[in-house]
C-alpha cells in the first residue's frame, strides 16, 4: 500500500467524519457550560438527519434541509429545556427520553424513505489554490463540505465568546454557581434555555450533515451512536470548544479506521473502537491531579431554585 496516500486519505476522511461530532460537541459544551446535561444528542442528531434528508429530497435544496435540521434539533432541545429548567425534571432521565423519542420518531417517519439515495447533496469543495499544496492540500482542502470549515471557525468563535466576552462570563457563571449569577441580576433561566436550544441547533446540523453530505441517503439509526460519543467528547474536551476540535477529529479517525481496517480485523471489534476509546478517555480524565483542572461545571445537572438552602 502507498503510505502517503493512505495517511492523506485517512486524515481527510477523519476530518469529514469528525464534522458531526464537532458540531454536536460544540453544542453540548454550551449546554453543559450553562449547567444542563442534555443526553438527548443522539435523538436530536437523528431527527436532524431525517429532517435534512426529507426536506432536501422534497425541495431539492440541501441548504434549506440543513436549516430545517437545525430547527428540529432546536425544538427538541427546547422541550428538554422546558422539562429540566422550568419543571426541574431530572436532566439525565429527560435526556435519555429525548434520545429514545428522537430515534423512534425518525424511524417511524422515515419508513417510506428508507434506503433511498439523495438526489441533490451538499457539494464537496476543492479550495482553489490551497488544495494544490503538497500533502496538506489533499488532506485538508479537498473533498470537504463547507460544514467542515464553518465548524472549525465556529469552534474558534465559540471559544472567544465563552472566555472573552460578557456573555461568556454569564454562561460560565450560571453553570458554576447559579445562585451567584442570580444575585447579580443574571436571568439564570433565560441563559440556560438559550444555551440548551443553541446546543440543539448545532446537534441538528451535525445530524443533517450525515444524511445530506457524508452518506447522502436515509437509513434508520444512521447516527450509529455518535450522540453518545458527543457526550464523552464534551468531557474529553474539558468543556473547551478549541479542544473539541482535536477530540472530534481523533474520534472521526477512529470511526473511519473501523471501516478501513475491516479487511484485517473483525468488523464488530472495529465498530467497538470508538466506544472503547470513549470509555478509556473518560476513565483517564477521572484520574489524579487533572481532575480539578478538567472538572465539570460545578452546577452541572443541578436544577436551580431561588432561595433553596
Amino acid at each position: 500500500m502507498d503510505w502517503t496516500s493512505w495517511v492523506i486519505s485517512t486524515v481527510s476522511r477523519a476530518l469529514a467524519f469528525g464534522v458531526p461530532l464537532l458540531w454536536g460537541t460544540l453544542g453540548e459544551i454550551y449546554a453543559e457550560r450553562a449547567g444542563v446535561v442534555n443526553l438527548g444528542v443522539e435523538g436530536m442528531m437523528i431527527l436532524g438527519a431525517f429532517m435534512a434528508f426529507a426536506v432536501t429530497q422534497s425541495v431539492g435544496s440541501p441548504g434549506l434541509g440543513l436549516f430545517c435540521a437545525a430547527m428540529v434539533g432546536g425544538v427538541a432541545a427546547l422541550v428538554h429545556a422546558f422539562l429540566t429548567v422550568t419543571l426541574r425534571a431530572n436532566q439525565y432521565v429527560a435526556g435519555l427520553a429525548l434520545s429514545m423519542f428522537g430515534l423512534g420518531l425518525a424511524g417511524l417517519l422515515g419508513r417510506g424513505w428508507e434506503g433511498k439515495p439523495l438526489s441533490s447533496t451538499l457539494p464537496y469543495l476543492t479550495v482553489p489554490g490551497l488544495s494544490r499544496i503538497p500533502v496538506l492540500g489533499p488532506m485538508l482542502f479537498q473533498d470537504q463540505t463547507v460544514l467542515t470549515y464553518i465548524g472549525l471557525v465556529l469552534a474558534v468563535l465559540l471559544w472567544i465568546l465563552l472566555f472573552r466576552t460578557r456573555w461568556g462570563v454569564a454562561i460560565r457563571s450560571v453553570g458554576e454557581n447559579p445562585a451567584t449569577a442570580d444575585a447579580l441580576g443574571i436571568n439564570v433561566t433565560l441563559v440556560r434555555y438559550l444555551c440548551v436550544v443553541f446546543g440543539g441547533l448545532l446537534a441538528g446540523v451535525g445530524g443533517g450533515y450525515l444524511s445530506v453530505a457524508y452518506r447522502p441517503a436515509w437509513t434508520e439509526g444512521m447516527t450509529a451512536g455518535m450522540g453518545w460519543i458527543v457526550i464523552a467528547l464534551t468531557i474529553f474536551a474539558a468543556w473547551d470548544p478549541l479542544q473539541a476540535i482535536w477530540g472530534a477529529f481523533f474520534f472521526g479517525a477512529l470511526y473511519h479506521l473501523s471501516y478501513r481496517l475491516q479487511a484485517f480485523l473483525a468488523p464488530e471489534l472495529l465498530k467497538l473502537m470508538p466506544y472503547f476509546f470513549a470509555v478509556v478517555v473518560l476513565a483517564a480524565s477521572g484520574f489524579g491531579r487533572a481532575r480539578w483542572r478538567r472538572r465539570a461545571p460545578a452546577a452541572l445537572g443541578v436544577p436551580y431554585v431561588r432561595g433553596e438552602r
Binding site: A179, A183, R289, R291, W292
Partner: protein
C-alpha cells in the same frame, strides 16, 4: 426613582435610605419575620443583632429581592418600591455581602466583578473592570489582585471582592451578613475602618451579627431580633453588653462556665507530621503534629478553610493521609476505615450535621444506633432487635433531652439543636476515648449551645480526649485547655488557654508563628 440623595443639604428632613415596614415572611413551620420594621439612615451603621435563626438573613434577603415578603412594605429613599429580584435591588442602590459568599470560585476576581455588571463592554469585560477595580480598591483601602482566581484567595480577600462587587454597582446601602465570622480579630478591625470610610461618604450600612462586642464597637444604632420579631432598637452609646444579651436571648445570660482544673492523662490521640490533600489535589495539611491527652480539650482555632475540615476528615478515616501517622492510644490507625476508628472509641461530631451526622430519612431511633447497628444487642444473627433498639433510644432521648414527637419520627424533621443532641447521644454512648467535634454549636440557639458545651466538658471530666474545632474564638477560649491555631495547613503554635490573649491568637490566625509544644503538659 429619585435621584441621588446624597447631594441634598444635610439639614433638610431626609427620608430614610431604607425603610422596611411590617414585614412578615413565613417558611413551612416557622415565621421567620413577624411584622418586622427596620430603618436605615444615610451615613449610619445600623447593626442587626440576634441569635442564629432569629430571622436576620431572611429580612435582608427580602430587601435584596431574593425572597418576597408575605406582607409588608419596602420604602427606599422615600419611595414605596417593589423588589422582585436582586436586579431590582441593585438598581435601587442596594448591595449585599452574603454570609456564604456568592462567588464563582474557578473564575478570576475581575470576572466575578464583571458578571452582570451594566455598562461593561461586550468584549473582554474582565480587562475593563480591572482598571475600575484598582481605583475603588485604593479609595476604600480594599486591596485585591483582579487577575487572581477566587479559589486561591483567603476568606478575608474573598470578602473584599464581595464588598467591591457591591461598591462598583453603586451601592449606597451595603448589607453585610455576619461579615466577621470569616475574619481574624485584626482583619475585623481593618473591616471596621473600611466601614468608617464608607460611612463618611454617606453610605448606609446594615451590619448583621450575633456577637455583642463587635456590634457595640462598630454600630451607631442596634436593632435586636428574637424569633422573627424585633425586640427593640437602641443607640449603641446608650446600651451595654448585658442589656443587649438580655434583649437577644430573652433572659439573663451567664457568660461563664464552671470548669474543673485540667488533669491530663495519657496521650490518647497523637498526630505526627501529617500531610493531606484537599479535593483539588492541593496540600491541605502540611506537616501537622499534635497530641491530645485524656481529660483535656484541645481547641483548634483558625479561619475556615485553613485545613480544619481536612484534619477532621483524616482523623475520622474519611480522607487519606499521604504522609505521617495517626496514633489512637498508641496504635497506628493511619488510613484505617471509619468503622475501625469508631470501634476503637473515636467519636465524631461532624461539621455538616444533616449531610454527615444523620441519615435524614431514617427515624430517630434508627439514627441513634447507626454506629452500632451491626453489633449486639441491636443486631443478632443479622436481624435487628427492635426491642433493644427501642429501649436504648428511649433512654437516650430522655438523657439528652432530644425533643421529638416520637422515636419513629424521621430525623430530618427535628430542629437543628435536637439533631445535634441526637448526634451527641449516639456518639457519646459507649464511653469514647477520643471525641472529635467540628463546630458543634454552630447555628444553635443559646440553650442548645450551653447544653452541648456542658456535654463536651463532661466528656473531658470522664477522661475522654476532646478535639474541638471551632471558628468561634470565644467558645474555644472558654472550653479548651490548650489552643492550637491553624493557618494554611500548618499549626502556628499551641498555647495554654489561660495564657493566650485574643490578640495573640488573632495574630497566629493570620500566620504568625509561636513555638509549638507537641505534647500536653501532663506527659
Amino acid at each position: 426613582m429619585v435621584g441621588r440623595f446624597l447631594g441634598q443639604p444635610s439639614d433638610s428632613p431626609r427620608p430614610a435610605l431604607v425603610l422596611l415596614k411590617d414585614i412578615t415572611k413565613r417558611f413551612p413551620g416557622v415565621v421567620a419575620n413577624d411584622h418586622v420594621t427596620f430603618e436605615l439612615r444615610p451615613g449610619e451603621v445600623h447593626a442587626l443583632l440576634g441569635e442564629n435563626g432569629a430571622g436576620k438573613t431572611t429580612l435582608m434577603n427580602i430587601l435584596y429581592g431574593l425572597y418576597r415578603p408575605d406582607s409588608g412594605e419596602i420604602w427606599v429613599k422615600g419611595e414605596r418600591v417593589d423588589i422582585r429580584s436582586p436586579r431590582d435591588a441593585i438598581r435601587l442602590g442596594i448591595g449585599m455581602v452574603h454570609q456564604h459568599f456568592k462567588l464563582v470560585l474557578p473564575h478570576t476576581v475581575a470576572e466575578n466583578v464583571a458578571l452582570g455588571l451594566a455598562g461593561m463592554p461586550f468584549w473582554a469585560p474582565a480587562r475593563a473592570v480591572a482598571q475600575k477595580l484598582r481605583e475603588l480598591s485604593q479609595r476604600y483601602g480594599l486591596p485585591v489582585d483582579p487577575e487572581r482566581r477566587v479559589w486561591e484567595l483567603s476568606a478575608g480577600e474573598q470578602q473584599r471582592v464581595e464588598i467591591l462587587k457591591a461598591l462598583i454597582r453603586g451601592a449606597e446601602v451595603l448589607i453585610l451578613d455576619e461579615p466577621t465570622s470569616v475574619l481574624t480579630p485584626q482583619e475585623a478591625q481593618e473591616l471596621f475602618k473600611v466601614l468608617a470610610r464608607m460611612k463618611a461618604e454617606g453610605h448606609g450600612i446594615i451590619f448583621i451579627s450575633h456577637k455583642l462586642d463587635e456590634v457595640l464597637a462598630v454600630a451607631d444604632r442596634i436593632t435586636v431580633m428574637r424569633r422573627g420579631k424585633v425586640v427593640g432598637t437602641v443607640l449603641a452609646q446608650d446600651t451595654n453588653k448585658a442589656e443587649l444579651a438580655r434583649m437577644m436571648v430573652g433572659r439573663e445570660v451567664v457568660f461563664r462556665f464552671t470548669k474543673t482544673v485540667c488533669q491530663p492523662g495519657e496521650e490518647a490521640l497523637s498526630v505526627r507530621d501529617l500531610y493531606v490533600r484537599d479535593d483539588r489535589g492541593l496540600w491541605a495539611l502540611k506537616g501537622v503534629s499534635f497530641g491530645v491527652c485524656r481529660g483535656e480539650i484541645l481547641g483548634i482555632a483558625g479561619i475556615a478553610g485553613n485545613g480544619q475540615r481536612e484534619l477532621v476528615e483524616v482523623l475520622t478515616g474519611l480522607r487519606p493521609a499521604e504522609r505521617g501517622k495517626i496514633l489512637l492510644l498508641g496504635r497506628d490507625v493511619t488510613n484505617r476505615s471509619p468503622r475501625l476508628l469508631s470501634d476503637l472509641g473515636c467519636a465524631h461530631v461532624p461539621e455538616e450535621r444533616i449531610r454527615m451526622g444523620i441519615v435524614p430519612g431514617l427515624s430517630v431511633e434508627e439514627n441513634l444506633i447507626l454506629k452500632r447497628h451491626h453489633r449486639e444487642p441491636f443486631c443478632w444473627g443479622g436481624f435487628l432487635q427492635t426491642w433493644a433498639i427501642r429501649a436504648f433510644a428511649q433512654k437516650a432521648v430522655e438523657e439528652y433531652g432530644i425533643m421529638t414527637p416520637s422515636l419513629r419520627t424521621p430525623a430530618k424533621l427535628l430542629s437543628g439543636g435536637n439533631i445535634q443532641r441526637l448526634i451527641l447521644a449516639r456518639e457519646l454512648s459507649g464511653k469514647p476515648v477520643v471525641v472529635i467535634a467540628a463546630h458543634p454549636t454552630y447555628g444553635l440557639d443559646v440553650g442548645a449551645t450551653e447544653q452541648i458545651r456542658q456535654l463536651l466538658l463532661r466528656q473531658r471530666e470522664e477522661g475522654a480526649a476532646v478535639l474541638l474545632v471551632s471558628e468561634d474564638l470565644e467558645e474555644i477560649m472558654e472550653l479548651a485547655d490548650r489552643i492550637a491555631v491553624m493557618f494554611r495547613g500548618e499549626i502556628m503554635g499551641i498555647v495554654a488557654a489561660g495564657e493566650a490573649t485574643l490578640e495573640e491568637i488573632g495574630l497566629m490566625m493570620a500566620g504568625e508563628r509561636r513555638p509549638v509544644s507537641v505534647r500536653g503538659e501532663g506527659t
